[in-house]
């Protein structure tokens, strides 16, 4: 993490459908003995009973930027609140933004890309989505917001796993993975998750885009710490989990796409393609990330995007023995998969 980035206040966005356990997780974060002070931004009509000194009510006002880009929406209230908070440097260490269950995370994330003042003082750390193991599958069918929240997430806390059977859990997990194979998934009861699993993730930090491997095969990642909670058999399935594996679902609305090539890309043809793709299809592409190997460049180039907003930078030199390949992932709604694949093929030097 660069020094400039380190000095910025990290902001964690906490999303999740109604009743999934957002407030439980929030209170866990706040009550843990971490010695840190949080400023918490909650929806004005949100749940009560949050125990924290600095709580600010937000209005979830989404507005379009005046730049001709229809998907370029930001949270006006957040700009205003962060503005007020940032003047009080040193009074808190991090900010948590809790959204309503019906909120689309994109405008929250985009606020951090388009507002220069917000960008100067705060950095988006990660979008954490709390999902209800019992009801998520239903919500994914009837609530587009729930699907957005899963698709957008860097970290998914699959909560209330004690209320479902093992097959049900496998089912909901597969449904999540059909939408977002890249997020870290943690299975919890009463939102019991290690704070380090949800905070200080650096999910939007270009320096920390290390690997973009789907998590299909490591779906139980990070759940070791649950063992001391003595909640029976539900989670202890890693040894025999491979037998049935995860069912593979295809989600009708939300898809992800991964591209890869080991041929060095030509920046002068790749970048215009990527920018053009984002300008034209960015409304459908919720999140994008990439690690790129350009010819004539000894540095890894990394980028990430939220809808049409892209940011990229040289990250570090490729290491000796490191496989120089380019990888890109896209998560989106009605993703134009073939168009993206074809376009990418065309910019791979033959």
């Amino acid at each position: 993490m660069s020094e400039a980035t380190a000095n910025k206040i990290p902001v964690t966005v906490l999303t999740g459908y109604l009743g999934a356990g957002k407030t439980t997780l929030l209170n866990r974060i706040l009550s843990e003995n971490h010695g840190k002070k949080y400023a918490v931004i909650v929806n004005e009509f949100g749940e009560i009973g949050i125990d924290n000194d600095l709580i600010i009510g937000a209005d979830e006002e989404v507005f379009e930027m005046n730049n001709g880009c229809v998907c370029c929406t930001v949270r006006g209230d957040l700009v205003r609140i962060l503005d007020g908070l940032m003047k009080r440097k040193g009074k808190f260490d991090a900010i948590i933004v809790e959204t309503t269950g019906l909120a689309d995370p994109a405008p929250v994330a985009q606020t951090f890309f388009v507002d220069e003042d917000v960008q100067a003082h705060a950095r988006l750390d990660a979008v954490v989505t709390v999902a209800d193991a019992k009801w998520l599958s239903d919500r994914l069918k009837d609530a587009p917001e729930a699907k957005n929240q899963i698709a957008f997430a860097d970290v998914i806390v699959l909560n209330k796993v004690d209320l479902v059977s093992k097959p049900e859990l496998a089912e909901v997990e597969a449904r999540i993975r059909a939408i977002n194979p890249y997020a870290k998934l943690h299975k919890t009861e009463r939102a019991q998750v290690k704070l380090s699993d949800v905070l200080e993730r650096g999910a939007f930090d270009l320096d920390r885009i290390l690997e973009i491997e789907p998590e299909f095969l490591s779906a139980d990642d990070g759940h070791e710490h649950h063992h001391d909670h003595d909640h029976g058999q539900h989670h202890h399935d890693h040894d025999h989990g491979h037998g049935h594996g995860l069912k593979h679902y295809h989600d009708e609305d939300m898809q992800s796409l991964s591209l890869r090539t080991d041929k060095a890309l030509d920046a002068s043809s790749f970048m215009p393609w990527l920018q053009d793709l984002m300008a034209k299809e960015g409304g459908k592409i919720l999140r994008s990330k990439g690690i790129l190997s350009f010819s004539g460049d000894d540095d890894r180039y990394v980028f990430q995007g939220v809808h049409m907003m892209l940011e990229g930078d040289h990250q570090r030199p490729w290491k000796d023995g490191e496989k120089r390949e380019s990888r890109l992932v896209f998560i989106g709604r009605d993703l134009p998969e073939q168009l993206i694949r074809d376009g990418f093929e065309k910019v791979i030097p033959s």
Binding site: I56, G57, D59, E61
Partner: protein, 339 residues
């Protein structure tokens, strides 16, 4: 390539830095106002520090938490706080709570009328209380971005998303809405009451000629405009947001329409604060690198008040007579200059 600057601008201009009385506020400052000849530095939270021309400081506790906004008419300072309180500090240093929001929401903006009426906003609601009158409120469609009283009559401009609402608190009936797409954050009437100008979330100003609602777009800024000030007599509107002070001409009946702004005092830093002298064509400009310049508007001549050291300048004001200039930066490193 290293910067090569053969002109050494900083050394060639007239400097009065040695005449500045330094003041250490000890905490971030968001604004400075004058109560008579005392400069009142409004801290980011809890305190206002009163400083006499000799530099003697006396802090006054005004709030428990953050002070989000402030304004002054020279007799008192009205502040909006993050505990839902509107607090007033008078010339004698007495603090009183003027109003408390029922839901304890942030008081995002405040305004003062020359006749003594106070306006404030919380969320989507603007409130006005005239002296001896009752509190009246008006709700706009989205969060209030800024408030300003018209120079004449009891008329309040309420900036919000997609425009500005002009409300006459003493009159029943519909308020007038001036529409323009986008988020309007700051708002000001020209001193002659002919124009209304907003600072937008995007790096631009928008203006309306009040007689016919004609639009004026003032664009081209690299950064959001956070500080605007009318020059003496309202001939020009000086603004922050660029690496020069941008001054839009408002002397003619068409305002800046079809005209180029004046661009004065260019530096390799962004202008963060502007304050116009109350009587002469002079302004003070504070920059993101800590520089403060005094600039003659007619020819752009500059005088150095503070060298480029320290944090971005966050507060800048003249006293009513124009004999004192006060400034502070984000860290509370402040000063007073007597002219």
């Amino acid at each position: 390539m290293p910067d090569f600057n053969p002109l050494q601008e900083q050394e060639s201009i007239v400097s009065v830095t040695d005449r500045v009385v330094p003041v250490a506020i000890g905490a971030g400052v968001t604004a400075v106002h004058f109560l008579g000849d005392k400069a009142a530095f409004v801290g980011v939270e809890e305190k206002v520090t009163l400083v006499d021309p000799a530099g003697a400081t006396s802090p006054v506790e005004v709030a428990f938490g953050g002070i989000l906004c402030s304004t002054s008419d020279g007799k008192r300072i009205v502040m909006g706080c993050d505990d839902g309180k509107v607090v007033v500090l008078d010339r004698e240093g007495a603090v009183s709570t003027f109003a408390t929001d029922a839901k304890r929401r942030w008081i995002d903006s405040v305004a003062l009328h020359p006749d003594g009426a106070v306006a404030w906003s919380a969320g989507k609601t603007a409130f006005v209380q005239a002296p001896k009158g009752e509190v009246k409120s008006f709700e706009v469609p989205s969060t209030v971005g800024g408030l300003a009283f018209a120079p004449k009559g009891l008329r309040l401009a309420i900036a919000h998303y997609n425009g500005v609402t002009l409300w006459f608190p003493n009159m029943a009936g519909n308020a007038e809405v001036l529409e323009w797409a986008g988020s309007h954050l700051g708002v000001t009437f020209s001193p002659d009451n002919k124009f209304l100008v907003t600072a937008m979330h995007e790096p631009a100003l928008h203006g309306w000629r009040l007689v016919d609602g004609k639009h004026m777009r003032m664009t081209g800024y690299p950064a959001r405009v956070r500080s605007i000030a009318w020059s003496a007599g309202g001939k020009g509107l000086a603004t922050s947001g660029a690496d020069t002070v941008i001054i839009w001409p408002f002397a003619s009946k068409d305002g800046p329409m079809g005209k180029e702004p004046a661009m004065l005092a260019p530096l390799k830093a962004k202008v963060t604060m502007v304050a116009c002298h109350p009587k002469q064509d002079i302004l003070a400009a504070g920059y993101s690198d800590g520089t403060i310049l005094m600039v003659r508007i007619t020819d752009g001549a500059e005088i150095l008040i503070r060298a480029n050291k320290g944090q971005p300048v966050s507060a800048l004001a003249w006293n009513a007579k124009g004999t004192l200039l006060a400034f502070a930066d984000q860290d509370g490193d402040a000063g007073l200059l007597e002219l």
